[in-house]
């Protein structure tokens, strides 16, 4: 400790305080758009003359009620999105677990090639092959259906999902497998009772990413779904915004957006760790 220790501590405290101030200011900046959206959703149109509507005085939830009734109804659209997101998550998890396990624990001569092959969708973005995918769906009579959309989503989540699951399984020590084999485990038992429970973090990561993708995706849904009743939330909101259902009501649009954002935010806040892991794991690959 030098003689200037007290001054050093004071400087450090000031530095810390400054850090909090800056961090908070930036945080406010980041949260502002969402807060503005929420506040706008709680206000009736006439009251929106004021720049930042005063929530306390105008806590009208009319917009949320209106949103429920727009078009085929909010719950229909949210329900569609939920079905798609959950199905994408479950489908991705199952396919990726099976494939990841096979690639990590049961390699054969062509395994490496198969793995790279399964990663190719990463290089060809889905926006690039929309048209032919649409035609294939057409041939399968799956256009304008949620299952068709789910298929697309699962395929494009596959590279990342399989990558994660393969990594997860790879890091499970061989000794565990060998012990299970000694105990007479069949492949099915091995997989279901031994491996999968140990791979749960990976599964959660896969499910999380797949769910968010399915819930938020826009372009694919826009192209595949044509019937009002089948729209997912992002696309339905687009119709609200473009006035297809009548005059554009921004309060209603924001109410719908808030509903669209809420699950993503909640899911993320609870599963942050897994999201970050997935991101970093993906970056290590590159």
């Amino acid at each position: 400790m030098t003689a200037s220790a007290p001054r050093g501590i004071a400087r450090r405290t000031a530095g810390h305080a400054l850090r909090y101030i800056i961090a908070s200011a930036v945080a406010l900046l980041f949260a502002l758009p969402i807060l503005a959206s929420v506040s706008r959703s709680l206000v009736d149109t006439p009251g929106a003359i004021r720049p930042f509507p005063d929530v306390l005085f105008h806590l009208i939830t009319d917009n949320y009620v209106a949103v429920v009734n727009y078009g085929a109804g909010l719950w229909t659209y949210a329900g569609n999105s939920a079905v798609v997101a959950i199905a994408t998550a479950v489908g991705s998890a199952i396919i990726a677990t099976l494939a990841g396990y096979a690639l990590a624990k049961m390699p054969f001569r062509g395994s490496g090639f198969v793995f790279v092959l399964l990663l190719t969708p990463l290089m060809v973005p889905f926006q690039g092959i929309l048209a032919p995918i649409f035609l294939i769906l057409s041939a399968l009579h799956l256009t304008n259906t949620l299952p068709g959309l789910i298929l697309i989503y699962v395929v494009f989540q596959m590279p990342f999902s399989i990558f994660i699951m393969r990594n997860t399984f790879s890091s499970i020590p061989r000794e565990i497998e060998e012990a299970a084999v000694v105990d007479g485990a069949t492949t099915a038992t091995m997989l279901l009772r031994v491996m999968v429970p140990l791979a749960v973090p990976g599964v959660i990561t896969v499910v999380l990413y797949a769910f968010l993708f399915g819930w938020n995706e826009f372009l694919g849904a826009l192209i595949v779904i044509a019937d009002n009743a089948n729209y997912t939330l992002p696309v339905a909101l687009n119709n609200v915004q473009s006035g297809v259902f009548g005059r554009v009501d921004f309060g209603v649009l924001q109410a719908g957006s808030v509903v669209a954002m809420l699950p993503s935010i909640i899911v993320f806040l609870f599963l942050q760790r897994y999201y970050t892991r997935g991101l970093i794991a993906g970056s290590v690959n590159s």
């Binding site: 810390h16 850090r19 961090a23 908070s24 930036v26 945080a27 980041f30 502002l32 758009p33 969402i34 503005a36 003359i49 004021r50 720049p51 509507p53 396919i95 099976l98 494939a99 690639l103 990590a104 049961m106 390699p107 054969f108 395994s111 092959l117 399964l118 190719t120 060809v124 973005p125 926006q127 690039g128 092959i129 929309l130 048209a131 032919p132 298929l151 890091s171 499970i172 061989r174 492949t187 968010l212 819930w215 938020n216 826009f218 372009l219 992002p234 687009n238 915004q241 921004f250 649009l253 924001q254 957006s257 669209a260 954002m261 993503s264 935010i265 806040l269 942050q272 991101l279 970056s283």
Partner: protein, 301 residues
């Protein structure tokens, strides 16, 4: 190879291999039907005249010839390039700075990280709807801000001005994606051994110098990754342009994917759309390859 199974006798080996392939069947089937076949199909489509309804005719390289003469296509590529060149440095710089902030452990840093990252998970469509509120004349925060900064007169719509529309979409994309760069940079920074910093501090190096000589060189690989991801993401931008500007005042904010979408699904010229997609994909692959090569040399130095 990690997790390599113990060697087995021939028959058992073959059975295990068969099981392995069986487990891979769902993934491979899906890949073939929903990706490989469409990919091949697209090639054929790009060489045909392929309306949604009606006769499909082989057309050789006509579509590609049309593409070369398509002013809107080139304009969309140019706009996409402009947009990419603006968004990328912002994302990298801001992501880096935020990472500097949140990489150490202090009380509450987790909450800040979460807030900075939050926009990433809401999807581009939701982000676009949110920003629509912000540009509303009279009530939108961005509208007020732009007026205050003298960027526009009070009675003009933000989105009616191509430059301002671009600015807004840049702000949107940055706001939305900076969290990813932040986390990636943070991970890269956290891998740097603390001793290096401590040694530098002992030598009297101040914060900026420490960043410049230690952090920046050692996060080169992360920087490369962030660069590639940001550029690729920007080249493929669609949602926010479709929802907010619809291609902007008189088609001045049309991105490449937006144009391809219009050609394929609004004008139903699927063959032509396929050709355009191929060109775009080729550009994307080329640009990514260039980046990787250039960065690999950098990293090795």
């Amino acid at each position: 190879m990690p997790g390599e199974p113990v060697a087995r006798s021939g028959a058992l080996r073959r059975r295990r291999d068969r099981t392995s392939i069986l487990l891979l069947m769902p993934a491979l089937t899906l890949l073939t039907v929903m990706f490989l076949i469409p990919l091949g199909l697209m090639f054929g489509m790009s060489l045909s005249n392929w309306p949604l309804f009606g006769n499909i005719r082989f057309a050789g390289l006509d579509n590609y010839a049309d593409a070369i003469q398509d002013a809107t296509f080139w304009q969309s590529l140019l706009f996409t390039a402009k947009y990419t060149l603006i968004v990328t440095p912002i994302q990298i710089l801001v992501g880096y700075l935020l990472a500097v902030f949140v990489r150490s452990h202090w009380t509450g840093v987790g909450a800040f990280r979460a807030i900075y990252f939050l926009p990433v998970v809401i999807g581009f469509a939701a982000a676009a709807y949110v920003f629509l509120t912000l540009v509303q004349p009279g009530t939108g925060l961005l509208d007020q801000l732009f007026i205050m900064l003298g960027l526009k007169p009070a009675d003009r719509l933000i989105l009616a001005d191509p430059t301002l529309a671009l600015v807004v979409t840049v702000i949107l994309s940055s706001w939305k994606s900076v969290g990813v760069s932040m986390i990636l940079f943070m991970a890269g920074m956290q891998a740097i051994p603390r001793d290096l910093y401590e040694a530098a501090e002992v030598d009297g190096a101040r914060w900026m110098a420490r960043e410049r000589w230690i952090t920046i060189p050692l996060v080169r690989r992360t920087f490369a990754l962030v660069l590639v991801l940001t550029v690729a993401g920007s080249i493929l931008a669609f949602d926010q342009f479709y929802i907010m500007t619809r291609g902007g005042p008189q088609g001045q904010t049309v991105t490449a994917v937006l144009w391809i979408y219009t050609v394929s699904f609004v004008r139903f010229r699927l063959g032509y759309g396929a050709a355009l997609s191929f060109i775009l994909l080729a550009l994307l692959v080329g640009i990514t390859a260039l980046q990787v090569r250039a960065l690999r040399q950098e990293v090795e130095e």
